[in-house]
């Protein structure tokens, strides 16, 4: 990141208006969340989240399993109704103005299925036409996406027979097909082999280079550190820190260290009862 941010403190909770939003100075932030809550029965999954994510960045939403990342992303993308709170995407309210929002965003959710009895190509043809793109344009874009994502050889195979990496790639293609301004990816690298991961990375880097915004969740810190220039740290349904990567990392040697400190998981011993462990004799 830029040098001016070097000496700033870690931006805890909400960041002030003084933080430069990067690429899209002046325009509305990519995502603005205020007082977002979601309870499932007794359990509070999202605990009053306030978050402002600038446009034109590669943004990582990090947190341990069960932190509320998926729940938050589902509410932001209109797939889950929040109990209370405001979500705006590019200045448009997700729940009041779905027409403006749904055409601007691309989504790759985690834990939801695709129409798996279609082939990869048929799936893209389906979702593209459903989004109202002309058929010839859909087919042209599908060709290019399948080619770039290295799926051309399997385009006529049913998605149900795809591997995890191939599913993530076809899901990414489906999310990119209508050229959204903002892309939401929930754990896009989970269970993906290194070759597919590199392909996905390449596509995402090319996409953000043109000014678009990527917001993705992950619990792999090394990945977030190498990809993102902006991060939000989530734990137990709350935002623990948000801001440019360098600020959130602060003085810690790596994002991993900073993260462990933020979520209060430092100093947990490996357990002294496992003294028999170490191979050799049984």
């Amino acid at each position: 990141m830029t040098g001016e941010m070097k000496n700033q403190e870690k931006t805890q909770e909400r960041d002030g208006p003084g933080i430069p939003a990067g690429g899209a100075v002046g325009g509305p932030p990519a995502v603005r969340i205020e007082g977002l809550w979601k309870r499932f029965g007794e359990q509070t999954a999202v605990h009053g989240v306030d978050l402002t994510l600038p446009a034109g960045h590669f943004i990582g939403l990090v947190g341990p399993n069960g932190a509320g990342k998926t729940t938050t992303l589902s509410m932001v993308t209109g797939l889950l109704r929040p109990d209370s709170g405001l979500v705006e995407i590019g200045g448009h309210d997700v729940w009041r103005d779905p027409v403006s929002v749904k055409s601007r965003i691309g989504v790759l959710p985690e834990g939801l299925r695709l129409f798996e009895r279609l082939s990869g190509r048929e799936l893209l043809a389906y979702i593209g036409r459903l989004r109202g793109l002309p058929g010839t344009e859909v087919d042209k874009r599908a060709d290019q996406l399948l080619d770039v994502l290295d799926l051309s050889g399997s385009q006529h195979k049913l998605v149900v027979d795809y591997s995890t990496g191939m599913r993530k790639k076809i899901g990414l293609a489906a999310a990119l097909l209508h050229n959204p301004e903002i892309l939401f990816l929930d754990e896009p690298f989970e269970g993906v082999d290194p070759v597919s991961a590199q392909t996905i990375r390449g596509v995402l880097e090319r996409y953000t280079a043109s000014g678009a915004t990527v917001i993705f969740s992950s619990h792999v810190m090394e990945l977030v550190e190498s990809l993102c220039d902006w991060v939000a740290v989530m734990a137990a349904g709350r935002i623990r820190a948000q801001g440019p990567l360098a600020d959130v990392r602060g003085d810690a040697p790596s994002l991993q260290e900073a993260f462990l400190e933020l979520v209060g998981a430092r100093g947990r011993g490996a357990g002294q009862d496992l003294d028999w462990l170490g191979g050799g004799t049984r």
Binding site: R81, Y126, G153
Partner: protein, 539 residues
């Protein structure tokens, strides 16, 4: 080194039996419903077995008892062979690939798996039926001794057959095609029950047993039934034939064991199918994009896109395929089944319309959690209307020609021909009414359909499913009442010459009510997208 020694010395049998008992126990403990289901099925199985045994004992001395006993054992064996194919998840110990990382030798493993197989309701039922079969034909001490051997052989052959079939087909069963096959298990049960019913009704009549003789004669040399006929032969002093019968059963057991061991060894040492799949070359049978063939005839935009996907799913998705085929099949058969039962009426053709229309309810449950793809493209009530209309059009595309066929067939075979216009008109109106009520139910009462296995509802949604079903039936009945009133009125007033009016009136009414239902349901769908997604993603 010490690991090998432990593996070689630990007796496997008790470990595996304990595993099976734990799996059974955990399965039962999972939910009270499952426990009740398990106890009920165990009770039903034992009850049927008890009745069969009593019946066989009652037939003792009947000259045709041998044929029946042999036939019963034949059916039982067939059941054991088919079970692992249609219910692969029924017994988790059936899949030996789960043990592939353990240092086990084939012989002790086979012994342990065999003993494990003898634990459960199935083997007890088999034991009971085999004992009954032996009692029905055994005569004298020699026959009794042969009988004991026969019972043991029958149980062992059945159990080994099931294990060997499961092992040989485990690659298939763990693949997608195998799981698709398992979904059809429900259909298999339905057909089997119907066949069994028919057979019982036939055999319930006096003097029906001789019918079985030719079948019994053919089966008597097929193991393990040959062991049962050996008992019969031993009772009549035909010791040579008895020995041959027993020997055939023993040979079958040996061959099955050999086959099982061979496939087991191959399975445990050969690479997993997922590794092989990666090497597979994708067939590039088609190239380029765009839509070809009949798909080109579908309209542009969301309508044609959704219709194409629905039609592809009707063919490719096992759940959709099953629901379409049962709907179309039973709708066509129902009038004739009812007429066989004495309810001969041309109006039974309306069953087809009702069953077809029921396809419209829970539209989004059929999408499973992939509904998010639909939800993310619906922003307005107009989008939702187009989505629902496309689904209704898919139903009509298949349904209208089909209902025409059913109405013609009903009028031709159940008659009179003059009833055709009113039956056809009422069918179309009923289809329209069920589309309207189904679209509304899809918006207001969605529920999830598990895509694996042959269940159609996720746990805890049973009441919702039945509630939605009955509400749909009541709503459809209420919606069709004006047209029904018109038909009855014309009949009562004796204006039979005007009954043809029901046809155009039904067509127009059906179209109108369906359009109205879709219009009313669309804003509910658009406003409830997250709620629908949550409901259809359960389980």
């Amino acid at each position: 080194m010490s690991a090998e020694a432990t593996a070689a010395t630990t007796p496997l049998v008790p470990v595996f039996v304990r595993l099976k008992l734990t799996l059974l126990g955990n399965g039962v403990r999972q939910s009270p419903g499952r426990a009740v289901g398990y106890v009920a099925s165990a009770f039903a199985g034992l009850l049927v077995a008890g009745l069969v045994v009593l019946g066989l004992i009652a037939l003792r001395g009947n000259p045709h008892a041998g044929a029946l006993a042999v036939l019963l054992i034949g059916i039982l064996t067939l059941g054991w062979a088919a079970m692992p194919l249609f219910f692969p998840t029924g017994d988790e110990t059936l899949d030996p690939t789960r043990l592939v990382m353990l240092p086990l030798r084939p012989r002790p493993l086979i012994r342990a798996l065999m003993v494990t197989s003898l634990v459960g309701i199935g083997p007890v039922v088999t034991l009971a039926v085999a004992t009954g079969a032996v009692i029905s034909v055994a005569n004298g001490v020699v026959a009794a001794v042969v009988g004991i051997a026969a019972v043991i052989l029958v149980v062992l052959v059945c159990v080994t057959l099931a294990r060997a079939v499961a092992t040989a087909s485990v690659r298939l069963l763990t693949s997608r095609r195998g799981r698709d096959l398992a979904v059809l298990g429900g259909l298999f049960i339905a057909l089997g029950t119907q066949g069994f019913n028919l057979a019982v009704q036939r055999l319930g009549r006096p003097d029906s047993l001789p019918v079985l003789e030719p079948l019994g004669n053919a089966l008597r040399w097929v193991p393990p039934a040959s062991a049962i006929s050996a008992v019969d032969d031993a009772g009549h002093g035909a010791y040579g034939r008895a020995a041959a019968g027993l020997a055939l059963a023993v040979l079958a057991l040996a061959l099955l064991l050999w086959w099982w061991q061979r496939t087991l060894t191959t399975l445990m040492t050969a690479p997993d199918s997922s590794t092989l799949q990666a090497l597979e070359k994708d067939s590039t049978r088609r190239s380029g994009g765009g839509q070809r063939g009949l798909a080109r005839l579908l309209p542009d935009g969301r309508t044609g896109t959704v219709m194409l996907r629905m039609l592809r799913y009707a063919w490719r998705d096992p759940k959709s395929k099953m629901s379409w085929s049962t709907t179309l099949g039973f709708g066509l058969l129902m009038p004739f089944i009812l007429s066989l039962q004495g309810n001969r009426s041309v109006y039974t053709a309306l069953w087809a319309a009702g069953m077809l229309g029921a396809q419209m309810s829970n539209q989004f449950g059929q999408d499973t959690s992939a509904f998010w793809m639909v939800a993310s493209t619906i922003s307005t009530a107009r989008d939702a209307y187009e989505e629902l209309r496309a689904r209704a059009l898919t139903l009509a595309l298949v349904g209208v020609p089909y209902l025409t066929l059913v109405a013609i067939a009903a009028a031709a075979f159940l008659g009179p021909w003059s009833a055709f216009p009113e039956v056809y008109g009422l069918s179309l109106a009923l289809l329209g009414a069920t589309v309207a009520s189904g679209a509304t139910a899809s918006a207001l009462f969605p529920y999830s359909i598990p895509s694996e296995g042959n269940k159609n509802t996720a746990a805890g949604q049973g009441s919702l499913v039945w509630g939605s079903f009955f509400a749909g039936v009541l709503a459809a009945a209420a919606l069709i009442s004006p047209l029904l009133g018109l038909t009855i009125g014309l009949h009562v007033a004796g204006l039979h010459g005007l009954l043809w009016i029901v046809l155009p009136a039904g067509a127009v009414y059906g179209l109108g009510i369906a359009a109205l239902g879709l219009r009313l349901a669309a804003p509910r769908v658009a406003g409830r997208l997250p709620e629908i997604l949550a409901a259809v993603s359960k389980g």
